[in-house]
Symmetry: C2
Subunit: 265 residues, 2 copies
DNA sequence: TCAAAACAAGAGCAGTGCTCTCTAAATCCA
DNA sequence: TGGATTTAGAGAGCACTGCTCTTGTTTTGA
């Protein structure tokens, strides 16, 4: 699942381009005992990403400056262009890095919950996303906030890490459904128009799901709602002091949302 | 009510700047027969805002450039500093402008629905926000997306226009409750911890509401969920072609959310 | 009429992304 | 081992940004 990360952490740094490799590819293409120059190059790229993350956290994506990173790296600005094609490329590196960090946190949190406790897994997922978002607001904004103007993430590199959370979430819902733990007859029943049903059918086929349309549709709503609540908190849409009990508020929202999708427990 | 705005406006609100005033305020505070210089100044500020909106729509907030606006205005860059203190000030102007445009759209949409059709009013509000967001994605991103790094909106000028939608939304919910059209016993019942109840009580007092805690809490969730769904769509979190039936998807989400808060109809 | 206020222009500073050229160092290979 | 080749880094430079300061010019109002 974390191929993209692997690829950039070791082998692919070499060419300065990140490729999305399967683990087979990555293990094959990674002799590990590389030349000193290659290791130095990999280390430099790792440093650039680390410094980029620091700048991102401190000043946000819009203020991410290659020149500043170069200064921190102790090198002249043009030198970093040997390692990173341009600013957008650095953004892409940070994007993939953040997606995978979030995905790892979510996976760890969900896996700490008993296999049959689907509602608990759902809440663990929500809480993990929120905790990470509050801890790394700039990274969260990069992933889920306004698109950076003029920047288009390269789908072939970001899609897999970028869909880890939603794939995990529908996985929980679908596993609950297969286990009979998902109430498919949630009230009020809302009719699903044919056009929407077609979209849901495509999703079901692609992700190999079993849950029926109403559950899938509610799952999508719950997905957007979880991130909506987190975004409001992280982006400061609640005023400064409207909600002092933010933990309790979010916990409440998760409880209600788990009912919306029909998860009991 | 809108003093803060008025103060910055003086002559300037004349210029097509949208402010939240009662008609009494507006007729009282605006002599209208100003000197030619004052009218020219107001017109220039109006032009700056208009050009700023165009740049915002075309290139996004991060790329909003005072120099580019100056060029379009046919004037040297330093000249615009006579009218706008700095880039952040222009952002604030555009922020207030956008908040009020959205508020006006929402108000118009809600008021077109029969007074007793609370569920219809809720859906009209949601659809109005979404329609405006899709039409003005850059403005929507400015209001509800990632915060602009280093920019802090001046609360005394933005709070009133910035809360028009949520005030309207809870107004609908509360009116429904008072009319007996809000089911306060929504299932599943979720316990509200004391800390959250205290926050809700403060909100109830400030906005003079009658609805009980469970309804208020669910109202908050519905609020964040509506914007979460819209943000996902506008910010491209749904992939390019996961959902072809976006109108139907959002309509479905509104229907489910109206059930979440207990609005029947 | 004349001083004061407002205005526009221009130069300038410090910062940005990015390209280009040049030198020095590391690596490869015959 | 020595020469050819590749790579790293430095530096200059271009076009752009926000913003300040000075210098004339125009408009205003008493």
């Amino acid at each position: 699942m974390s191929r993209a990360v692997l690829s950039f952490v070791d082998g692919a740094l070499y060419c300065g381009k990140l490729v999305c490799m399967t683990s087979a590819e990555s293990s094959a293409a990674k002799p590990k005992a590389t030349t000193p120059r290659e290791r130095a190059r990999a280390q430099t790229i790792a440093d650039i990403i680390r410094l980029g993350r620091e700048h991102l956290a401190l000043h946000g994506a819009a203020a991410l400056s290659l020149r500043a990173v170069a200064r921190d790296l102790g090198v002249v600005s043009s030198a970093v262009y040997r390692y990173v094609e341009n600013r957008d490329e650095l953004l892409t590196l940070l994007l993939i890095d953040a997606y995978n960090e979030l995905g790892d946190h979510v996976d760890a949190a969900v896996e700490a919950v008993p296999e049959k406790d689907f509602a608990g897994q759902f809440r663990a997922l929500g809480n993990a996303v929120r905790a990470w978002a509050v801890r790394e607001p700039a990274s969260y904004a990069l992933l889920f906030g306004s698109p950076v103007p003029g920047y288009q993430a390269p789908g072939e590199r970001t899609t897999v890490p970028g869909t880890r959370v939603i794939v995990r979430l529908v996985g929980i819902f679908d596993a609950a459904y297969r286990a009979g733990a998902l109430n498919a007859e949630v009230t009020p029943a809302v009719v699903i128009p044919p056009a929407l049903a077609a979209d849901l059918e495509a999703i079901r086929a692609e992700l190999n799901l079993a849950a029926p349309d109403p559950s899938l549709a509610r799952g999508v709503l719950v997905w957007t709602s979880v991130f909506g609540a987190i975004s409001f908190e992280v982006f400061g849409q609640y005023g400064a002091d409207t909600f002092a009990a933010r933990d309790e508020l979010f916990a409440h929202q998760l409880r209600v949302l788990q009912g919306v999708v029909g998860l009991q427990g």
